[in-house]
């Protein structure tokens, strides 16, 4: 492959990753506004600041590779290929949402892109992810499963049970710990004794700790691990050091009692994954500021249109309430 062609291919990858990160940030900004303007029911949890994690990883996966997500799941959902319109519809409980409005932010799933769903139970998806890896092996496919979870979930017993089994059976699953420093309102150091990567290593699982704000670094490592997983060398564990800009959930607004404004400012100004990648793209001559501005503006417009659409989209009809309790049963209460 000629260097020029290789560069162009890489350019596509880079631009795609940049674009996805901006899409996530834009989505979250809009979702935040929807909540603050009291147009979105229920609660949601912002991914802003962690974009490089979801994008760096998901960009290394095929559509048929699976992911499981968390309550902070919009980023994973977008990164795995979801569209704004159906996502906003789901957040607003509308019929055209990915789950027909029946899951909402905390259970959003996009089966067509391999997203097995966000989970409102902390650590609740770990078993599901490991099981997806088991069935991939059983069905003879080389699909890999990525299990996203936060540093807080390392306190859940389920994690150790499934890592143990994944290691025993060498399942093609990558456990991804998004360590954003806080478990709800408590600093990670206060809820996780010892080392997080050592937990995986105790099961003989190869573990890596990397900077979660460096999308290229994340992507490069993920590509390697995914490749090895497909060959049966899994499972693997990644701990990504990252930061969430917003509170644990929207409405968690007065955060100073658990983290300082200075710390927040530092991450936002000096360690933002999007700003960082943008600088790099411009410095490398891969994109100009104008091109990037144009892309940003286009994404913003897309999002605004999707929000408008979702706001006026229809709700599911009342008769839907007892549908989908059981497969093959149209209405369970008929």
């Amino acid at each position: 492959m000629s260097p020029a062609r290789k560069k162009k291919t890489n350019t596509e990858d880079y631009m795609r990753m940049y674009r996805q990160m901006v899409r996530i940030r834009t989505f979250e900004d809009n979702a935040n506004q929807l909540y603050l303007s009291a147009k979105m029911p229920g609660l949601t949890h912002m991914y802003s600041g962690e974009e490089a994690v979801a994008v760096g990883i998901c960009d290394a996966l095929k559509t048929t590779d699976k992911i499981t997500s968390t309550h902070r799941g919009h980023g994973h959902c977008v990164a795995k290929g979801a569209e704004f319109k159906q996502m906003f519809c789901e957040l607003l409980g509308k019929e055209e949402g990915y789950c027909r409005g029946k899951g909402g932010s905390m259970h959003i799933a996009d089966q067509s892109h391999g997203n097995l769903g966000a989970n409102a139970i902390v650590g609740g998806s770990m078993g599901i992810a490991t099981g997806a890896a088991l069935s991939a092996r059983m069905l003879g496919s080389d699909d890999v499963t990525v299990c996203f979870f936060g540093d807080g979930a390392t306190a859940q017993g389920l994690m150790y049970e499934v890592m143990n089994m994944a290691a025993l059976w060498k399942l093609p699953v990558i456990y991804v710990c998004e360590n954003n420093g806080y478990s709800e309102y408590t600093a990670t150091a206060e809820i996780a004794a010892g080392s997080i990567t050592a937990r995986a290593e105790a099961f003989g699982i190869e573990a890596h700790q990397i900077d979660g704000q460096d999308v290229l670094g994340v992507n490069a490592l993920t590509q390697k691990l995914v490749e090895r997983c497909r060959k049966g060398e899994g499972p693997f564990f990644m701990e990504l050091m990252t930061y969430r800009y917003h509170g644990h959930h929207v409405g968690d607004i007065n955060r100073e009692y658990y983290r300082s404004k200075q710390e927040e400012r530092d991450w936002k100004e000096n360690r933002d994954p999007i700003i960082r990648f943008r600088s790099w793209l411009v410095a490398e001559g891969i994109a100009t500021e104008d091109e990037i501005e144009a892309m940003n503006a286009e994404i913003k417009k897309d999002a605004a249109e999707a929000v408008e659409y979702a706001l006026s989209a229809k709700y599911p009809v009342p008769s839907e309430v007892d549908m989908h309790v059981f497969a093959d049963v149209a209405h369970v209460l008929a």
Partner: protein, 331 residues
């Protein structure tokens, strides 16, 4: 017709389904070489290998979660939960995840999962290995619950459950594994939601589940000596429940006793009695009575344990009073 034990019936059902569909697999503790402590699965690992009869560490939440994930992504796991009492350990994966995923995803994700577990006391296994907890899972929308009462039901219901695209929890009575019953050689399925009338009668209806079906049958025999004609019905599945059959019988005899091995309070008997009350009220010549296990943790001592479950004599006694029109409860 040949007679086989309940244990053999379950074994056959699993083997047949695993032959028919290579995505079906078994996962649980001591399922492979050991064939489970009750030896129900003996021989399966020899035929299907350790990739499809998977021994796990003692990690109930873990392997239940794995099974949910596997079911969501193209395979059909049968989870072996060694004792029904361990349901408490797996409630999040079973009730928060498996039961709700189809609904929360708007119908886009399926969980074709079977959980095979047991119930039943009087084995001197004490409080944490003797519970009958089917009411807990029956209460959760999205889970189907089957209670085979003999080898015949065990095979037919297991095959249907494996082919069902929803999570189904099957409770076998651990006291019945060696009980024989006629089981056809040819393949057959028992649909979920279809009750079975074992014995027709005209004076009183006895509705029993699982091993309580036999208790009711024996009680009916005792009552027959006193010229009381009892009808015995086995709902076979609690979710879905064959209400129509139960109501039909209630209207025919106008007297009903529901017998179940779950605790008497806040359980299956209350639900069935309530539905009969609602929908057959004007046909009742007496209150619908309930008999469940005593509302106490299961005691170890044989002198005490046997007091806590319904017996044929106990059922017959209650039936006698109901037929005689005695005031069961004070006005």
């Amino acid at each position: 017709m040949r007679e086989i034990t309940l244990s053999q019936a379950v074994n056959e059902a699993l083997a047949e389904e695993m032959r028919r569909d290579e995505t079906v697999f078994i996962i649980g503790e001591d399922v492979a070489e050991a064939g489970t402590p009750f030896k129900v699965l003996s021989g399966l690992v020899e035929e299907f290998g350790t990739q499809r009869v998977i021994d796990t560490p003692i990690s109930e939440p873990g392997f239940m979660g794995l099974a949910v994930g596997a079911a969501m992504t193209g395979t059909r796991p049968v989870v072996d939960l060694m004792f029904g009492d361990f349901l408490f350990l797996v409630m999040d994966q079973l009730c928060n995840q498996a039961a709700k995923i189809h609904y929360m995803s708007g119908g886009k994700l399926n969980v074709p999962l079977v959980v095979r577990t047991n119930l039943g006391a009087t084995r001197r296994s004490a409080a944490q290995h003797s519970q009958s907890l089917h009411a807990l899972v029956a209460h959760i929308p999205g889970l189907k619950v089957a209670l085979p009462s003999s080898a015949y039901e065990a095979k037919g219901l297991m095959k249907t459950a494996i082919r069902d695209n929803n999570p189904v929890v099957i409770f076998e009575d651990k006291l019945m594994y060696n009980d024989k019953a006629p089981v056809p050689e040819e393949e057959y399925l028992i649909p979920l939601g279809e009750a079975n009338v074992l014995r027709e009668g005209s004076d009183i209806t006895l509705i029993g589940t699982s091993s309580m079906v036999q208790v009711c049958q024996k009680a009916a025999g005792l009552l027959a000596h006193e010229r009381i004609s009892a009808e015995v019905i086995d709902p076979r599945t609690i979710v879905p429940l064959d209400e129509a059959a139960l109501l039909k019988s209630a209207k025919k005899t106008s007297r009903v006793i529901v017998v179940d091995e779950g605790h008497q309070s806040f359980g299956i008997t209350g639900e069935i009695a309530s539905r009969i009350n609602e929908k057959a009220f004007y046909h009742l010549d007496g209150p619908v009575l309930r008999m469940g296990a005593m509302d106490v943790p299961v005691p170890f001592s044989p002198a005490l344990e046997d007091l806590t479950v319904p017996t044929p004599e106990g059922v017959a006694e209650k039936a006698r009073k109901l037929v005689a029109g005695e005031m069961i409860h004070a006005a």
